[in-house]
């Protein structure tokens, strides 16, 4: 019962993240928009690794594919990659300080950005690689807020 309630809260947080993710912004600002869906997914895996893992990340990735009308499997692959990375690092990540966790998150977003650019390259779409660090930087800036909110939600006993 407790796990299912966490799942409901996670789904609500993901819908909110998706809403922020697709919110129309002026073109020049779009490159600064953090990857909200990925951040919320990572936050849940960080805080509840026993309940949310690689399959959860992959499910959110499929949802992102449908939401953004990207090639099916594209976001699934990237989100699952993040989930697996956090899963592999989960033993160490719980001992990381706040700043170290921010750096880890920005590095993961950066890595995902480059993986995404590589996938685009496979489709003959040249990626603007200079935009990837900006997204990582802003994701790192938003991470403390998202981390705090998810930590509070995941800590509640339903």
């Amino acid at each position: 019962m407790k796990k299912d309630d966490h799942l409901v809260v996670a789904l609500v947080s993901l819908v909110l993240a998706a809403t922020l993710h697709v919110m129309p912004v002026t073109g020049s600002w779009i490159v600064w928009k953090p990857n909200f869906l990925l951040l919320v997914t990572m936050a849940w895996i960080f805080h509840r690794p026993s309940e949310f893992g690689v399959f959860f990340a992959a499910s959110v990735g499929i949802f992102a594919d449908f939401l953004m009308r990207s090639t099916l499997g594209h976001h699934m692959l990237m989100f699952a990659f993040c989930g697996a990375l956090i899963g592999v690092l989960s033993r160490w990540s719980q001992f990381l300080s706040f700043i170290q966790r921010i750096v880890l998150v920005s590095l993961i977003v950066l890595l995902v950005g480059f993986v995404e650019a590589s996938i685009f390259a496979a489709y003959d779409i040249s990626a603007a690689l200079t935009q990837v660090p900006m997204v990582a930087l802003f994701s790192a800036l938003f991470w403390p807020i998202i981390d705090k909110l998810i930590a509070r939600s995941s800590a509640v006993d339903y």
Partner: protein, 282 residues
């Protein structure tokens, strides 16, 4: 559901399984149309998220209209009345010119330019991926929208419809990397291809030889070649021309006429060929 999200012994092994499934999905989606019905079905489920994401913009638009002082409304009304009068005057001149143009084209045995029908639409979503320049508009197959339909704003060409659903559609913008648009220089008719660069403020002209008569400031319009875009809609203005001695073609950069990252109200153009083949004009 509980079993699905349980932690496994090895995240790496799980990732390998998912990677295999994801790559299979990507190949199927890229090379077959099998996923289309799934996308159409799921699209109606994710649509409320786009509706939610538009609430702040709708509130902003509503507050802009609701909190305007009466004096400003009166000023705007007066200005719009004057503008309407001026445009009506210009329109009378335009109809005279259009009639003259038709007579001259008949003399030259050229085909007549058709007047295109348009449908006003509003942007309800913008691609969150900086590398994919697409947007979602609030008109779909119920309104007669069809794949390949040109999209304009008040200043120029914006893009074309690539995906149509019941009550919304997705458009690929002319600035997307994968988009190319046949254009011609308004001044002398020199033809070229305007290629997107995934930059909202820049296009690049392809295959223009160093001897071509193009100068900075030239206006580009759609040439109509390819049959997708109608002739004569503004595309952009040439802002720089570079001649590199080793290159066969000029490096020409173009500032798009349309306010691609700002316009919210757009026009869907019903060209005769597209409307005949896919849907009827409203």
């Amino acid at each position: 559901m509980r079993n699905v999200f349980n932690k496994a012994s090895s995240p790496a092994r799980k990732f390998l399984i998912i990677a295999f499934v994801a790559v299979s999905f990507m190949l199927i989606d890229s090379f077959t149309p099998w996923m289309k019905p799934i996308y159409s079905a799921v699209d109606n489920v994710v649509r409320p998220i786009y509706w939610l994401s538009n609430i702040p913009l709708r509130l902003e638009a509503w507050s802009e209209n609701a909190v305007v002082p009466r004096s400003e409304l009166e000023r705007n009304n007066l200005r719009l009345t004057k503008e309407s009068l001026i445009y009506h005057g210009q329109l009378q001149r335009m109809s005279d010119l259009a009639a003259e143009n038709t007579r001259l084209r008949r003399l030259l045995n050229a085909t007549e330019l058709l007047v295109d029908n348009v449908l006003v639409t509003e942007v309800i979503g913008v691609s969150s991926n900086p590398l994919r320049h697409t947007l979602t508009v609030d008109r779909g197959s119920d309104d007669g929208v069809y794949v390949g339909q040109p999209l304009l704003d008040a200043q120029g060409l914006m893009g074309q419809i690539i995906d149509v659903h019941t009550n919304h559609s997705t458009a690929l913008l002319i600035t997307d990397m994968s988009h190319a648009l046949p254009v011609q220089v308004l001044r002398n008719g020199v033809r070229s291809i305007a290629q997107g660069l995934s930059d909202y403020n820049l296009l690049q002209l392809q295959f223009v030889s160093p001897t071509s008569d193009v100068v900075v400031g030239d206006t580009l319009v759609s040439s109509g070649l390819g049959g997708l875009y109608p002739v004569g809609y503004p595309v952009g203005t040439i802002i720089s021309i570079e001649r590199n001695p080793g290159d066969s073609f000029l490096n020409i950069q173009v500032d798009p006429s349309a306010e691609i990252d700002r316009s919210r109200h757009l026009l869907l153009v019903f060209t005769s060929s597209g409307a005949d083949s896919d849907a009827a004009a409203p």
